[in-house]
Symmetry: C2
Subunit: 164 residues, 2 copies
Amino acid sequence: MTGALELRPAGPADGAALWDILRPAFRAGDSYAVDRDISQSAALRYWTEGEKTAYLAVRSDQAVGSYYIRPNQPGGGAHVCNCGFVTHPQARGQRVARTMLEHALKTAKAAGYSAMQFNFVLASNAAAIHLWQSYGFAEVGRLPQAFEHPALGLIDALVMHRAL
Amino acid sequence: MTGALELRPAGPADGAALWDILRPAFRAGDSYAVDRDISQSAALRYWTEGEKTAYLAVRSDQAVGSYYIRPNQPGGGAHVCNCGFVTHPQARGQRVARTMLEHALKTAKAAGYSAMQFNFVLASNAAAIHLWQSYGFAEVGRLPQAFEHPALGLIDALVMHRAL
């Protein structure tokens, strides 16, 4: 862990770097509701296509995390954004998620969104919940037994929200 | 209103009938978070593509309603389904939504889902909320000011859920 963490939009040349970050999370299947066997191309589409804009967190030329931002709903719901965050396993404990969140909050506000919502925060993910709460996110929903966790079985997922 | 209401899967020949049902709801913009100017082809993709299976409610050869069913999440969340329902304006008050819901609950159970969740029930939609509650759906989340209603301004949306 040396050098500053920089955030920049992910481009067409970043597919391999993105996959390097996403693959461990998706294969583990304990943080995102994504098919654990998802292919690289499908994973990259999931993370970057449609209305999503993806950012890479880079330190010393090494991509260590990524987040996306998108309107959470079209039409009358487009003023609320949704984001997803993944940190590479080897970069945990280095404030990568916190730095990405701060960048996402600024990006969302600059884009004119009035709120940010996370739709599916696993109740088992204490570190993430603690981080979101410390930045003012409140639990606005709890989805009972919404996720089949590979080790814990059926667990709840939270909907978290904050105004911008 | 004559004849029995029958439910059948929507097929490739049902595009015009589906659009006839969806268009009034999407153009009004007061029940679904969909772009009010959505094109016919985009609306049909929205309602039928991806993991969605759409059904038509037909009475006396007239399509009067439609619903879709899909996994609400991929991967570890695929045991919970999500549905959307639309009744043609001229068929309101004829128990179309209720009949579609009963069909959806049976379809979901037969497909092996263990719960059904509605992600974005507008707080202004009292008739729908009452119907869902009467079939055992509980409010598990309330998304503050999640929808810009054309007449009411910013209103909340509910997340509703029941086990199957």
